[in-house]
C-alpha cells in the first residue's frame, strides 16, 4: 500500500505555537545569593506549553537553585518568575500572596524530587499518596479517589494490587514512579523535576525515562528538568540551558547544543561523557 494515501493534505502539521502565544513560564533576571556566594545570576528563560526544557550542568552549577526559584519554592534575591495560567492571567510567582502561590502549586504545578522520600509520605499507603493531591483540591468521594489512584498506579507501571502498601515496601524505581503518579494525578500544566532519574540503576532509569517521555507527550505538559546526565537531557528535553557557576553559558535546541556545542564549558561537558 502507499503510505502517502493515509496522510491527507488537510492533516497538515498544526503550526507550533508561534512567538505570539504567551509562554507558560517566563523567568527574568533571576538571581539568588546565599550570603556572599552566588547561587545563580542573570538567569532567564521562557517555556511554552508542551515544551520540555532541560537544565544541565555539574553539581553546584546552580541548576537546582534555578529550578527551586522557578517553581516558587525558593525566593530569589532578584528577578521574577511569571506564570501564565490557563485563564490567561499572569501571576508574578514571588510577588503574589503565599496562599495564592501554594494554590498554584496544588492546582497547576507539580514537583518531582530526586529522592522519592522528599516527594512522598512514607507513612501512608501508595493509594493515599496518589490520592492526596486530589483530596487537597477538594475531592471528597472515596471511591472516585481510589479509582483515580489505581489508574495512576497502572499508568506508572505499578501493580494496582500494591495500592494499600506503603512506599517503604517499594523498590527505588517504584518509589520514583509513585512520585510521578502523585505529581501528575491532579493534571498539572507545568512540572518541575529535579534529577528524576538520579540514584536509580540504569535499567530502572530507562523505564522511568520512557514513562516520563510518554506522559509528557501524552498530557502535553510543559516541564523543566534538571539533570547532570546529558543522555537524560537528550531524551527528555526539547531545549537546553547549560549552567556553570550559577550562570547560563549556552542555550539552544537540545541536539544542537549537544552535537555542536559552542561554549568551551559545554564542549568539555559533552566531551566528558562516557559512550558505552
Amino acid at each position: 500500500m502507499s503510505v502517502e494515501a493515509t496522510v491527507t493534505p488537510e492533516e497538515a502539521p498544526p503550526v507550533m505555537a508561534g512567538d505570539d502565544t504567551p509562554p507558560i513560564l517566563a523567568v527574568e533576571g533571576l538571581a539568588k545569593q546565599y550570603g556572599g556566594r552566588i547561587g545563580c545570576a542573570d538567569v532567564g528563560f521562557r517555556l511554552w506549553p508542551g515544551e520540555v526544557l532541560g537544565i544541565v550542568g555539574e553539581s553546584g552549577s546552580g541548576k537546582t537553585t534555578v529550578l527551586n526559584c522557578a517553581a516558587g519554592r525558593l525566593a530569589p534575591t532578584a528577578g521574577r518568575v511569571l506564570y501564565s495560567a490557563a485563564d490567561g492571567a499572569t501571576h508574578d510567582v514571588h510577588a503574589i500572596a503565599e496562599t495564592d502561590r501554594r494554590r498554584l502549586m496544588r492546582t497547576d504545578w507539580a514537583f518531582v524530587h530526586q529522592h522519592a522520600r522528599d516527594g512522598l509520605r512514607m507513612g501512608v499507603s501508595a493509594g493515599a499518596n496518589v490520592g492526596e493531591p486530589l483530596m487537597a483540591l477538594g475531592a471528597r468521594h472515596y471511591g472516585r479517589i481510589r479509582t483515580a489512584a489505581g489508574d495512576w498506579l497502572t499508568r506508572t507501571e505499578i501493580d494496582a494490587d500494591r495500592i494499600d502498601d506503603r512506599p517503604t515496601t517499594f523498590s527505588g524505581g517504584m518509589q520514583q514512579r509513585l512520585q510521578v503518579a502523585r505529581a501528575l494525578v491532579a493534571e498539572p500544566r507545568l512540572v518541575f523535576m529535579d534529577e528524576p532519574t538520579g540514584g536509580l540503576d540504569v535499567s530502572v532509569q530507562a523505564r522511568l525515562l520512557d514513562l516520563l517521555r510518554g506522559l509528557v507527550t501524552e498530557l502535553g505538559l510543559a516541564a523543566v528538568i534538571v539533570t547532570h546526565d546529558l543522555a537524560v537531557a537528550r531524551l527528555l528535553s526539547h531545549r537546553l540551558l547549560v549552567m556553570r557557576r550559577g550562570r547560563v553559558v549556552e542555550t539552544g535546541l537540545t541536539d544542537q547544543v549537544l552535537d555542536d556545542p559552542q561554549h568551551p564549558y559545554t564542549q568539555l561537558l559533552v566531551a566528558s561523557v562516557l559512550q558505552p
Binding site: 496544588r106 501512608v124 471511591g143
Partner: protein, 298 residues
C-alpha cells in the same frame, strides 16, 4: 433554673494562702487574652505561656489553667473524667478548686456554669451561659501525618487540609470504613480543622451550634482554642463514607437509656460484663426519675 440546693456543695473553705484559683493575676490575664483570641478565631490554636501546675502533664494541666483563668467566686463548677464525676482525676481537680478558689461544686450538669471535662461532653444538653473546658493532650489534628510544627502551622494558615482526608482515606482503605472513633477531626466555622480532644465521635454533633462556650486547653503543648456558642462544627468525611456516630444494640443496663454513650464494664472474672452510661450524672438522674433497665427491655 430550679436546682435543689442539696445538689450543689456550697462555696466556702478557700485556703487563702493561695491566690484565688491558684494562678497569679498576671498569668490569668495572659490566659484570658489567649482565650479572647481563641474565641475570636474559632478553632485556631493560640499559643500561651503555660505554667507548671501542681499536677503532672496528662492530668489536665491545660484545662485546669483555663478553668483557673475564667473562674469567679460565685461560679458553680463540675468536673468530669470520661463522663464520670467520681473518678480520681475528676475528684482531685474538683478538690483543687474547692481549696484554691472555694467555689461551689456540683455533679449536676444543669446546675454548673463551668464544666471541666476529660474525654466527654455531658448528655444533658448544655445551655447558654455555660462554659465547657476540655483537657487536651495533643491539640494538633495534623500531627498524625506531619510531624513538623512549622509545616502544620503553614497548613492551617493556608487552609491546606488535604492531609486530614488522607488519614480518613487510610482508615477506609484499611478497615473498610472510617475507623477513627475518638479525636475525630472537625472543621470549625468552615475554616480551621481542629482536634476535638479525645472525646468519642459520638459527642461531635453536640459541639455544633452548641449554646455553651467551649474552651480547649493543652498544658504540655501550651495551646488554647475555642468554639464560640452557636458555631457550626462539621465532622470531616467522604461523600460515600459519611460521618456516623456509634450506636449500641442495647440500652444502658442501669437506666435503660438508648440515647447515651455506653461504657463496657467488666463485672466478674468469668466474662460477665454490662453496658452502662458513661455520663454518671445523666444515668443517676434517669434512675431518680424512675427509669430502669426493665422498661426498655420489655
Amino acid at each position: 433554673m430550679n436546682i435543689p440546693a442539696a445538689m450543689v456543695e456550697p462555696a466556702g473553705g478557700r485556703d487563702d494562702t493561695y491566690n484565688f484559683a491558684y494562678l497569679d493575676e498576671q498569668t490569668k490575664r495572659m490566659i484570658r487574652r489567649a482565650l479572647l483570641k481563641a474565641v475570636a478565631v474559632p478553632g485556631y490554636q493560640v499559643p500561651f505561656a503555660g505554667r507548671e501546675m501542681p499536677m503532672p502533664y496528662g492530668w489536665g494541666t491545660g484545662g485546669v489553667q483555663v478553668t483557673a483563668a475564667i473562674l469567679k467566686a460565685d461560679d458553680v463548677l463540675k468536673v468530669i473524667d470520661q463522663g464520670a464525676d467520681d473518678t480520681t482525676n475528676a475528684v482531685s481537680i474538683r478538690k483543687f478548686f474547692r481549696r484554691t478558689a472555694g467555689v461551689a461544686t456540683t455533679e449536676r450538669t444543669e446546675a454548673a456554669n463551668v464544666i471541666q471535662t476529660r474525654h466527654r461532653i455531658p448528655e444533658t444538653p448544655l445551655r447558654a451561659g455555660q462554659i465547657l473546658v476540655y483537657q487536651v493532650p495533643i491539640p494538633e489534628p495534623l500531627r498524625f501525618l506531619e510531624p513538623r510544627e512549622t509545616e502544620t502551622r503553614r497548613m492551617h494558615a493556608h487552609a491546606d487540609y488535604g492531609l486530614m482526608h488522607v488519614k480518613l482515606y487510610e482508615d477506609i482503605a484499611r478497615h473498610g470504613h472510617i475507623a477513627t472513633t475518638y479525636a475525630y477531626p472537625v472543621k470549625v466555622a468552615g475554616r480551621y480543622v481542629m482536634d476535638p480532644s479525645p472525646t468519642p465521635k459520638f459527642d461531635n454533633p453536640k459541639m455544633s451550634e452548641c449554646p455553651a462556650l467551649q474552651l480547649f486547653g493543652a498544658g504540655r503543648e501550651k495551646r488554647i482554642y475555642a468554639i464560640p456558642p452557636f458555631t457550626t462544627v462539621e465532622s470531616l468525611d467522604f461523600e460515600d463514607h459519611s460521618f456516623t456516630v456509634q450506636r449500641w444494640d442495647r440500652p444502658c443496663a442501669l437506666c435503660g437509656a438508648r440515647d447515651s454513650f455506653l461504657d463496657e464494664v467488666v463485672t466478674d472474672d468469668r466474662g460477665g460484663r454490662m453496658f452502662v452510661c458513661s455520663d454518671t450524672d445523666y444515668c443517676a438522674r434517669r434512675r431518680d426519675a424512675g427509669h430502669g433497665p426493665e422498661e426498655e427491655e420489655a
